[in-house]
Symmetry: C2
Subunit: 698 residues, 2 copies
């Protein structure tokens, strides 16, 4: 059992030291409290607790090799094949200046090279080994994010819709062509007027029983399919989402069966001309990702065979009868969209890949760059400034945290694809929505911070922050707008909350809610709210408890508010009235899931020095997040004022400690210079400036 | 005198209502407290206090015309001339896709057109009427920010250095050529290894008494002048900052007189070839502003006449003697850099211009865009969602706040240029540093938020967020890195703090510190910390007090910490140990200055409905900022838990109210469609989507 009766003073800064007498009193109360509320440390922590909490003051000696080995995924080999293929082909590298049209052609050549020359065939892994697929996606994205997205459109979206929403006949007919890029295709869901609200799509597919065909129509300009990747230039096919209309014998004449997916050939296989009735335009320049040819599609009475309905969840018989194993439109809609979560998993995972590149460049440059210094002494590295540590070290810690969380997500997703376990489906759906939203928002902000932290040289296009930010920016929007996805997380939490009260069981990820609903909702413990020793603050139990306490409290209070407001505003109005609260709840939950995974990863690390480094980084992640929301904790007296100060001081101190091993920590990501590609971020620091002057022509 | 004994319940949401009994008790205590500590309302507020606090529940009727008239600067006419000139010249408009080299040529043509065709000659206003100069700069920046920056390089930096650091002989020789663009020039301060640390520059200018010349040299590659605007292609001259070296008769042989500025011709006036000894290279692609030709300059024994030293603050006589009216290197350095604050004023002002464009586009689109809605009812506008209001309404409020603050800064700067009053110089220096840092950081973040809030259509390049962000990004870095500038603000505050304790006088902007140091540093009033009525929270006295209390407290505590740490770490080490604290202090001060100016602007507004609208917006700015740092306020019990909740609720409610007049508020910026130029942000909403489909070719 851990003892909390030791350190009170923050060893780095004694400004707020409580006076000696008070310290003695508090210590006495603490001892007593241990008798009253014995703290049970779960067995997972007790074995190496010493190591986990007492890393001491000295700089940790990190063996970057061992750390990398622990961090490295199972599919490093195929990532290296990707890196090496493109490193050996300078003609396939994207220059800093390239027109939109040339970029699109280059991007297509890159993808063809990968598939046909390097022999990397991602499609089979989409189903067989998703972890390997995501590893390829991450590596390819670091070559040029346009390539990553174009590959994702082809295999996750167009290919994935055929595999996951279609049946054997579709797989038999299309697999080979999708795999070998003979059938480049699109995923035509979004319309000009509808993105998030997929059920509001207006494109229609009317069944014509006489010719056994569907007729696809764009009823108005708001229903033009918009932003469709691969549509402007290269696509031959599109999976088109449209309302299925079946003829009826009543006065209405037609019945809306809800949104379904249809394979629609859009260009002639030989001439590549747009097929009759299909109007295709270019959506034009984007903020980034200009290597992807996003287009707009308008349909005028386009006929496709009945077989082109992707009929896994609902089909139409020869005589126009609807058949489905699922009972309602809503269930079918949920099943259809549920098959698309792979895209979110991929984005969350790739977003961490982008963050790793940016953090690596920013940290290496901040170690190299010197500016100002003590009087008559050499200038110091800008990473020696507390402000720069504050900008970059919690970000580095978060990168590690996200690495473990998204690796976990990929595992769960792979498991779900194998088992089709229902509980797992719900879990993965919510976890992928939450992590995609949280991670991509964080990465987007961090890319701006990195640019700014690297000053003028961060503004040189060659140093990558601009293109990384412009390309990554839309990660926050596509495959589900982040604000909408977080609401799905909140809704799922509320569902679990209700089930708990109805005596139901909770799935694994939400297990902590069971306990928390009973224990955390009482008033915070007035004794522990005053503990401010380093051992306590770095105890994973305290950290997890703090994260979960907040989530539970937010959940409980929003449930009460929703119930109250529903009476006057209806459920839609009540939801909107509580929307900020719900978003905070969702973020809070995701942060706690990330922390839990990080703590597990620290515990499982077999190498002692790597473990100590990871523990340090994990503590920084935890305390930085608690400090960021200290108002909430203070407001309910979960932490007393002096404890709040102690948390702040310790997180500043941990930033300083992490700075001391920052070089090794970014080396742990194993990103070679030909992947980071920023002169200011070279691994061998002394080459950085000279690469840079040579680049300018000196 | 205002009465605080009315509303307790938040009228929009009663979740946290304290119970009735407690309310009565609290009210009684409040009444008592008024006897004990009568609140003195300064006369400026008492006249129209009713209006200022009781705007009521109904939607305010805003007359956009009257609001615009109040917001409009004195130099709207010249801005309209700029807009109209470029609107009439589509050949001078920057296309979405353009190569770096073509963009630079276009940008030069734009500038030449402005000066030689439109007859707008900004240079004379640099000195005569800075407000007019900044108005031109803002307008020109909205055409293409590259043009704004290129104009700034020519007139503020190159031209400004000649006027402000030189003497009559320089003005006589160069004014005309700079004004009419026959002498395009550069401002060569930054080196590869030194940006912020100007005193660390390594370029040398050695006086040769035999030939009466200076010899300019780049002693090593780290001293190459880097990022120099106008250098890569167009510049004929450069103001080069270098250490002045004078020969001595001692063993050292030479004496370093510190950094001085020299006019160095860099290209032949006829052939445009680089002059002997001058190596010029292109710094290449940047994240944005690719219309500006930033280059790198390396000097090898480049000789210039003695007259080319800009000798306002220090000169060299024919026989190599140094002469100056200022006593030390540090004083001369401060005077030299002090003349360059105009650049910061311009950036802060232009940054607000960028923010206005972005907010206008985002608000108009959010009103137009509909997604989801209550069951079986039409979809609602996305600005009807609380989350969207949370993203955009405090931003809209901040735009108004910054408008008044930067207008005030321009006035003060103009006054300083007229009077050369010493106190004013210090004030303007600090205010320009602080506002430049605070406003540009805020705008940079907001541009990302706007893109994200506008979803997929926000990612279309034509809708401007990408280029605005990429171009504006470097505003955070050039003319003083924001992190460095905030430290100058903190240092000035500490200086004032010390002077106050030494019985000195404080300058106008800092006046509040005098009072606050005496009154605010006691414990917060336990009675007022519980007041949570809307009248109280919307009282400017409460708001200003809260902002200033925080600043004073931060100032007091950092002064104590600095004193303590100096003993062990020295002053440089102590400063670094407290750096995050110092940056928070600086931001807190700037926020309070902005609020004070906003409150004044509300008070001075002659039109009642505009005043009511501005008051609403000002309250949102104030309460949103207090809520953002609620942890600090809670930690010292400046606000009690229920008051914290009331602040949160009221700021959510104010966001809702501001949403109701958001259209009128953005109309108040008077930005015509040919200036905003985003199809999704057109003034006539119904045209937005059709402009957009037409743009794609439908």
């Amino acid at each position: 059992m851990e003892s909390h009766n030791t350190k009170y003073s923050n060893p780095t800064d004694e400004d707020y030291n409580i006076n000696q007498d008070q310290a003695i009193v508090t210590r006495r109360i603490q001892r007593l409290s241990l008798h009253l509320h014995p703290i049970s440390v779960p067995p997972v922590f007790s074995d190496n607790l010493q190591l986990l909490t007492c890393t001491g003051r000295a700089k940790i000696n990190v063996n970057a090799e061992n750390l990398s080995e622990y961090m490295r995924g199972k599919h490093r080999d195929i990532q290296e094949r990707v890196y090496e293929y493109f490193n050996a082909r300078p003609d396939l590298q994207t220059p800093l200046e390239i027109t939109k049209d040339a970029h699109r052609e280059l991007c297509m050549r890159q993808l063809m090279g990968l598939v046909r020359e390097a022999g990397i065939r991602p499609f089979k892994y989409v189903v067989e080994d998703p972890a390997k697929y995501f590893a390829i996606l991450e590596a390819v994205g670091s070559v040029d994010m346009s390539l990553g997205i174009k590959m994702g459109v082809q295999y996750s979206l167009w290919g994935g819709s055929v595999l996951n929403l279609g049946t054997k006949k579709h797989k038999d007919k299309y697999f080979e062509g999708i795999d070998n890029m003979e059938y480049p295709g699109c995923f035509a869901m979004t319309e000009l007027h509808h993105g998030s609200n997929v059920q509001g799509l207006q494109t229609v597919a009317t069944f014509d029983p006489f010719r056994d065909e569907f007729i696809i129509d764009t009823p108005n300009d708001g229903a033009i399919k918009w932003w469709i990747g691969n549509a402007a230039v290269h696509g031959k096919f599109a999976t088109v989402f449209a309302k299925l209309m079946l003829p009826t014998h009543d006065t209405k004449g037609v019945s809306d069966m809800g949104v379904h997916a249809f394979i629609v050939p859009i260009r002639d296989m030989k001439t590549h001309e747009a097929l009759p009735g299909i109007e295709i335009h270019d959506c034009g320049h984007k903020v980034g990702l200009n290597g992807v040819d996003n287009g707009a599609l308008k349909f005028r009475s386009v006929r496709i065979p009945r077989d082109n309905l992707l009929n896994r969840f609902g089909g139409v018989s020869r005589d126009g009868k609807y058949t489905s194993s699922l009972p309602s439109i809503n269930k079918r809609f949920a099943a259809t969209l549920g098959e698309l979560v792979g895209g979110r998993v991929g984005l969350a995972y790739s977003s961490v890949g982008v963050l790793k590149i940016a953090v690596t460049i920013a940290v290496r440059y901040s170690l190299l760059r010197q500016q100002f210094g003590p009087p008559k002494q050499p200038e110091i590295s800008i990473l020696d400034y507390q402000s720069q540590q504050h900008k970059l070290m919690p970000m580095l810690a978060s990168t590690y945290a996200f690495h473990f969380a998204t690796s976990h997500l990929v595992e769960k997703y792979s498991e779900m694809k194998r088992s089709h376990d229902e509980e797992l489906v719900g879990d993965v759906h919510t976890l992928s929505a939450g992590l995609k939203a949280y991670v991509t928002s964080y990465t987007a902000k961090s890319l701006s911070t990195c640019r700014e932290a690297c000053g003028g040289h961060g503004y040189a296009a060659v140093n990558r922050f601009g293109s990384l930010r412009n390309d990554h920016d839309i990660f926050q929007t596509f495959e589900g707008d982040n604000t909408v996805l977080l609401q799905q997380v909140a809704a799922y939490l509320l569902k679990q909350y209700k089930e708990k009260f109805q005596g139901g069981t909770l799935t694994v990820t939400w297990n902590y809610l069971r306990e928390s609903m009973n224990t955390y909702l009482s008033q915070p413990n007035p004794v522990t709210s005053r503990w401010e020793g380093e051992d306590h603050l770095r105890n994973p139990n305290f950290q997890l408890d703090a994260f979960r306490y907040r989530t539970s409290r937010l959940l409980q209070s929003v449930a009460v508010r929703l119930r109250k407001h529903s009476k006057t505003l209806g459920s839609f109005g009540a939801w909107n009235r509580c929307l900020n609260h719900l978003l905070t709840l969702a973020e809070s939950h995701i942060e706690s899931v990330i922390l839990a995974k990080f703590i597990e990863a620290v515990r499982s690390c077999p190498d002692a020095s790597s473990q100590a480094a990871l523990k340090l980084v994990c503590d920084l992640y935890a305390l930085d997040r608690i400090w960021n929301d200290i108002g909430t904790y203070r407001n309910v007296d979960y932490v007393a004022p002096n404890k709040a100060k102690a948390i702040h001081k310790l997180s500043e101190y941990l930033s300083f400690q992490v700075k001391n091993i920052a070089r090794e920590l970014v080396d742990g990501f194993e990103l070679p210079d030909h992947v980071t590609r920023a002169p200011i971020g070279t691994q061998v620091a002394k080459e950085a400036y000279s690469q840079y002057t040579q680049y300018a022509g000196f």
